[in-house]
């Protein structure tokens, strides 16, 4: 069972922080999404829309980390860190890959892309998150969402 562990607070922490890591294993994406959502919403009653947004962007980010970041290598791990702030959630998903150029976001709405079978993940993350940021290397994504 994948249960996020609480990270000891530091002086600068704005809220509670949790961390969970798992091997690159696509069959566990649903499990870790459920686990992180339970952690994020244990003390709040989020709207259905908020729950949907978190589930969707987290599934996208974890799948991207496994498939493209870790190149489907089961020896590489994915790390998820969650900060529970008063009004928002900050979710970080990291992989052990070389990163990618996050400034290039595919545009799946182009006419020739509508029938594509891939290339929508980052686009969906950008539209369902309040903010999206990456580290310089491109192997960590931060997403913020409402907590309620």
């Amino acid at each position: 069972m994948l249960s996020p562990n609480r990270i000891p607070p530091s002086d600068t922490d704005a809220g509670e922080r949790y961390r969970v890591e798992l091997p690159t294993d696509l069959s566990r994406v649903g499990e870790v999404v459920d686990s992180v959502c339970s952690c994020c919403f244990s003390e709040t009653s989020p709207t259905a829309r908020t729950r949907f947004r978190l589930s969707t962007v987290l599934a996208e980010a974890v799948a991207n980390a496994m498939l493209y970041g870790n190149d489907s290598d089961p020896a590489r791990r994915v790390i998820i860190e969650v900060s529970l702030e008063s009004d928002r959630l900050v979710i970080a998903v990291s992989d052990e890959g070389d990163g990618f150029d996050h400034r290039v976001v595919p545009q799946p709405l182009d006419e020739e892309s509508i029938e594509a079978t891939r290339g929508r993940g980052l686009f969906v993350i950008h539209h369902l998150s309040d903010t999206v940021a990456f580290n310089e290397r491109g192997n960590t994504i931060w997403m913020t969402l409402p907590r309620h």
Binding site: S27, R28, G30, R49, S55, T56, A59, V124
Partner: protein, 111 residues
């Protein structure tokens, strides 16, 4: 089982997606449709009434299945999308690619 299937009139099959359609289970759904096509089923309704969320791999699998069914002279329809799932299809413009019905019964009735 995240997918429940049932036969319907007119060589049709209803597939209900429980929980989620994501990278982890998309191949299972594609296999269900492929196996049914080999058994002569030509018309499919994918029912999302009990579905919590769909990721982009799940969307891609639907696009892929729809193409394959159309190429075989069949029809694949979607039904039961709640407001959030419906907005995901609008966001990605996939609402222009699929025939989307309020309920599975309406989708099946149109065959």
């Amino acid at each position: 089982m995240p997918f429940k299937t049932s036969q319907a009139p007119n060589q049709a099959m209803l597939v209900t997606v429980e929980g989620q359609l994501i990278v982890a289970n998309r191949h299972e759904l594609k296999q269900i449709v492929q196996d049914a096509m080999e058994q002569g089923v030509k018309r499919f309704v994918i029912d999302f009434t009990p579905t919590a969320y769909i990721d982009s791999s799940g969307l891609g699998a639907l696009v892929s299945m729809s193409k394959r069914v159309r190429q075989a002279g069949g029809d694949l329809r979607l039904a039961g999308l709640n407001e959030d799932l419906g907005s995901l299809f609008e966001l990605t413009k996939l609402d222009t690619l699929f025939a989307i019905f309020e309920t599975p019964a309406e989708a099946l009735a149109g065959f």
